[in-house]
């Protein structure tokens, strides 16, 4: 999540620092110090350590120790062995994002513009699931989607599922779990953007011959772009790296790259491979974020 701290969620350009003398000039740096020190010790150094581990000799083990052999070959090996999980991660997170957008945008819009005095209650309702543990919520989904559960029973009765069709342990269950678990991360930034949308602008648009659909495309959507950008990233990045949903709601056939990294570090104890996979995932996400932000160009909005 550390990378998210750098998201351009603020829409105001940074003010030029006022010219001060002596001690006051140091003040901004002093204020930066605690956070910077924290990031250095707990983010930058471990990252370096991880980078080093990804280049260890793959023949080593925890008991015999690892030798630093600059084994760049760890990367192509990891891709070759686990590319299905890799692409599955992006596919599942992508589908979940589309579903979440279809549900989350209208939801955020309704809360921000139409909810009136119910606004705060609805916001609490969006956040409330976060009051319980991520793990507990996902386990609850296991119950909801279980073969003997009411939902599967209903779907079988209306013949949307075959008589022995199931939801649990299918790709659908994993995607639904991802959608559910990360939806608030999409809705909250979107809400913040849409809440600031002046309804008088929509009146002006309709006064200037824009049909409701056109007004949405030309006014509402561009003005909600900062929230939309932040929300999609906040949704997509953790969803891509997630392994709990695939583990609890899926089978090894639905495993994502997070599950592979998890097992590399904790089951197979193959540290070089786990580190290489982690770095590949990070690089892929960074590339996607970079391209996305270039396209969305949030700083030009508002």
């Amino acid at each position: 999540m550390t990378a998210l701290a750098h998201l351009p969620t603020s829409t105001r350009p940074p003010a030029p620092p006022p010219v001060r003398r002596g001690r006051h000039r140091l003040l901004p740096y002093l204020l930066l110090l605690p956070g910077a020190a924290w990031l250095l010790v707990f983010f930058a150094l471990p990252l370096l350590q991880l980078a080093a581990a990804s280049l260890y000799d793959p023949a080593g083990s925890l008991s015999t120790g690892y030798a630093m052999t600059w084994a760049v070959g760890n990367y192509p090996d990891a891709v070759q062995a686990y590319w299905p999980q890799f692409s599955r991660s992006f596919l599942y997170a992508g589908i979940a994002l589309v579903i979440a957008l279809l549900m989350g945008y209208p939801l955020a819009y309704a809360i921000a513009q139409k909810a009136g005095r119910w606004k705060h209650l609805l916001l609490v309702a969006v956040v409330a699931p976060m009051f319980t543990s991520f793990l507990v919520r996902t386990l609850a989904w296991k119950t909801i989607l279980s073969d003997s559960g009411a939902l599967v029973g209903l779907l079988r009765d209306v013949h949307l599922l075959g008589p022995d069709g199931r939801l649990l342990a299918t790709p659908a269950a994993v995607v639904l779990g991802l959608t559910y678990n990360f939806l608030p991360f999409l809705v909250l930034p979107l809400y913040a953007s849409l809440e600031r949308l002046d309804p008088r602008l929509l009146e002006a648009a309709s006064d200037l011959y824009a049909s409701p659909l056109r007004a949405f495309a030309r006014v509402t959507l561009p003005l909600s772009l900062p929230g939309l950008t932040a929300g999609t990233l906040l949704f997509f990045i953790p969803a891509t790296g997630d392994y709990i949903n695939a583990e609890l709601l899926g089978t090894p056939n639905e495993y994502m790259v997070g599950n592979v990294i998890d097992s590399a570090f904790l089951v197979r104890l193959d540290y070089p491979q786990g580190a290489a996979l982690s770095f590949l995932l990070m690089a892929a996400i960074l590339a996607i974020v970079f391209v996305y932000l270039r396209k969305a160009g949030t700083e030009e909005v508002l």
């Binding site: 009146e203 002006a204 648009a205 309709s206 200037l208 011959y209 056109r214 030309r218 006014v219």
Partner: protein, 383 residues
Amino acid sequence: MTRESPADDLRLADLTKRFGVFTAVDDLSLTVPQGSFFALLGASGCGKTTTLRMIAGLEQPTGGQVLLGDRDITGLRPHKRPVNTVFQSYALFPHLDIHENVAFGLRRRGIRKVGDQVERMLALVQLQGYGRRRPAQLSGGQQQRVALARALINHPQVLLLDEPLGALDLKLRRQMQVELKRIQAEVGITFVHVTHDQEEAMTMADTVAVMNAGRIEQLGAPAEIYEYPATAFVANFLGQSNLLTAEAGGRAGDDVRVTAHGTRFSVPAGRARLVDGPALLGVRPEKLHLADGVDRVPAGHQHVGGVVTDASYVGVSTQYLVRTAWGAELSAFAANSGVAAPLAPGTAVTAHWDPRHAFLLPRAGADERTEGRLGQPPVGALP
């Protein structure tokens, strides 16, 4: 007022809008001739903005009709009406530059080549070269002109202006009033202008409708309404008036006889809204003159005696308050033309006026309250 095709007049027929139990606009009917500059004048909450929003289609009337020529546009969605609005808050699109803001309406109607039209419109509102700026980079007056250009470029049949000058400072406001009038004469589009500023309404409009509590109190040319108001509300909302509680006592030739506080006055029949019964005798402060004795009152003028209680020097004129024998305070404006010496508070004076400048209004229960508007105690309550 040009009336090439009277068929394009804007007509409101029995227009009513209720919000719950509150009636914002009450059975309003009026006709705005095509090409005229029409002002809806009233205090805040009188229903003038609601009326405007119903014409724009942003509010659905509870009853009645909005007609453009013979076409009933009451049920039409805002984006289907040949009507554009200049909003009080301007409502410029913050994510679009000035050029795109102005081009917005044209683009929505599928017009591709907009560059020339936008340039011409920006020139009309004197904003050439501002096309690439964002609304936030412009001053209030400039934003106001962008809002105007954005509406005018569509050549609407009716342009609605919702207190467009309210956010500007006084000097800029005066400048924009002249500017708006020039533009209206140039483009010849019907302007319906909502304002609470009586001076603004009188400066700009051909026709002014004074609204109060969802109804039109009086409608006419500014001079006509000012010189001969129909109700006490209009008399006090459009400028100031001295209103004396009086009793009309029937006609005498071309005059109506009036008794106020034991003194007999008269008003020409053509300036009396009633002949008999409870009335208010009105004189505008600038038509009330002060003399230092009864013998100095010009022949034919009517007069009351009093004492100057306050003199405010406001540059072009000095505004006096004169307390009459029965305790009412009259307001009199004397032009500072250098002819008469200023009067000090405490001076005994005779206030006089030409009866042709007086007017007589019916006095209802509600009118008693409006009498206090000048800060005088209600005259009727005093001995």
